[in-house]
Amino acid sequence: MSYNVNEKGYYGEFGGAYIPEMLYPNIEELRQNYLKITAEPSFQEEFHALLKDYVGRPTPLYYAKRLSEKFNTKIYLKREDLNHTGAHKVNNTIGQILLAQRLGKTRIIAETGAGQHGVATATVCALMGIECVVYMGEVDIARQAPNVARMKMLGAKVVPATSGSKTLKDATNEAMRDWINNPVDTHYIVGSVVGPHPYPDMVARFQAVVSEEIKWQLREKEGRSNPDYVMACVGGGSNAAGAFYHYLDEKDVKLIAVEAAGKGVDTGESAATSILGKEGIIHGSKTLLMQTHDGQITEPYSISAGLDYPGVGPMHAHLFKTGRAEFIAITDDDAMTSGLELSQLEGIIPAIETSHALAVFNYKKFKPNDVIVINLSGRGDKDLDTYIKYFKL
């Protein structure tokens, strides 16, 4: 059983490139070039130099002592929150901007939910002096105001998506429309392991640095590179993909993907895609998605803008279908409580996305000697208003 993409762009039965013809040349250009370009020594050199000197990698693998004590197990936090711009997203945007440059693109577009990917994209565009347009749902613009401000400071144009649920899904539609309208000079930096092939594989490869580092860091700390569990929240799935990547074929490592249950899986206000979803096509990819029996895509709900997406990357659909990963859905309330708990136990305010992964400890028992690595995908600075209001601090 392979958990990686095949030559046709599929993970098992999921993936592919279900795109309008208008996007064919762009996607084809990417498909034909992404492996070749990213394998070039000059690309690898520049990519790793920027990850080190600009992004601040390697990010620490931090043993969370007080959290571990509380849940009587061994918890390591992979500190993607310490990346420049505050989340794992920048690993991917650094990779894609270098690719875009080598493809001769002069304009960048992106979609964003939590704003982290938008900020990470605006950041690399500023770094390279390239024009940048970010699409963001109107609802998300309101609830992630700090990130909107950051994008503006970085010189990006933020365009509100006003259709549908006015969140990530709709921002993605708008970005795709922009790309259709600007097929020659523009590269679309997709922010997660979603979209048509080769995006899921390309983004996963850029994010794979996360598990690459975990391996040697855990060996330093525990004398073995394989933990018992790797756990990550899943919006589109990129931080989970990065954390899982080098463990996909290591059978002794259990993978846990954490989705947003919103107000509860059965309340109709949820974003728990794998549980509520069915196979279908969203944003050019065959995967699991939340939809009506008639095939209309459902508007998802989560308190967290980065998990508020009705689909999931095809790799994760495959991990779910094959049982390689366990999927757990966590409600808004549980996530918020765990976010506050981490803040006060470890002095780390997590992004609400990440807080979902932390809440698993309240539902799943681990053994005292289990080694669990959680991908701490981002910092909570963007979410302070939401936390403060929720807890009336």
Binding site: G16, A17, Y18, I19, P20, E21, M22, Y24, P25, S163, G164, K169, D170, T172, N173, M176, R177, I180, N181, N182, P183, V184, K278, E279, G280, I281, I282, H283, G284, Q291, H293, D294, G295, Q296, I297
Partner: protein, 254 residues
């Protein structure tokens, strides 16, 4: 013989109109189709509305959202079309995104199309390659013509490939854009129209995207067999209602 192929053999430049099923009112579908035929339209694209129509501009998006809100669905559309062939003769094409069709079941969907008298399908997000490999035999089994798009960016090689697997016409997107975003055609489009014309493809081309009045229709059909009007027609429906169809279509037939 499939009505599309028949129609393509007629000498005139074909006027084709797109509308979104279920818009402005849920039950306007048959009325609009009948009225279009009555007013001399050659071919109709019936839009099956989708929640996330990513190849469409705001006009068609909004009409899709409204249609879904009105209650439109694949089943309902087929219900509305049950007796359409008793009153309408011109080719009818369903244009819809792939996911609703996939959920319906591709074979079931095609079967239903045949039953009600649909002649072809345009599924913008079903790539030619995937169609060719997985679905072609089903379409053929039910006598449906699948119509592919080409754009100014489509390579010569791929245009030839698409021509090869097409058996009706090629939907020639006028410019790199979503629907409804053009304002007139310039030199670039003309060069593109000419370039494709000179390739002497086996399938005739019908131009879509950006046709909004007599002038653009004439430009588009200088080299092509016909043209499709979408957003401009929807806008007219929105502002002037179903009764204005006669007036709207008249300008193209003048």
């Amino acid at each position: 013989m499939n009505r599309i192929i028949q129609k393509l053999q007629e000498p005139q430049k074909l006027l084709s109109i797109y509308f979104t099923a279920g818009y402005p009112e849920l039950n306007d579908t048959v009325t609009i189709i009948k009225s279009l035929e009555d007013n001399g339209v050659d071919m109709i694209e019936i839009g099956l509305p989708f929640s996330d129509p990513l190849a469409d501009g705001p006009t068609i998006q909004d009409s899709s959202t409204a249609a879904l809100k009105n209650g439109m669905s694949s089943n309902l559309l087929f219900d509305q079309l049950t007796n359409i062939r008793e009153i309408v003769k011109i080719p009818l094409i369903i244009m819809g995104y792939f996911n609703p069709i996939l959920q319906f079941g591709v074979e079931d969907f095609c079967k239903k199309c045949q039953e009600v008298g649909i002649d072809g399908l345009i599924i913008p997000d079903l790539p030619a390659d995937v169609y060719n490999e997985h679905y072609r035999h089903i379409f053929e089994k039910y006598g449906l013509i699948n119509i592919f798009l080409i754009t100014p960016q489509t390579s010569e090689e791929r245009v030839k490939f698409i021509d090869g697997i097409s058996n009706g016409f090629i939907y020639m997107v006028s410019s790199a854009s979503v629907t409804g975003s053009q304002s007139g055609f310039g030199n670039e489009q003309e060069a593109y129209f000419k370039r494709i014309h000179n390739m002497q493809l086996k399938n005739p081309q019908i131009v879509g995207f950006g046709i909004k009045d007599k002038e653009t229709f004439t430009q588009a059909t200088q080299y092509a067999k016909g043209a499709i009007i979408g957003s401009a027609f929807i806008k007219n429906l929105t502002f002037n209602g179903v009764n204005s169809i006669e007036l709207f279509t008249k300008q193209f037939k003048a």
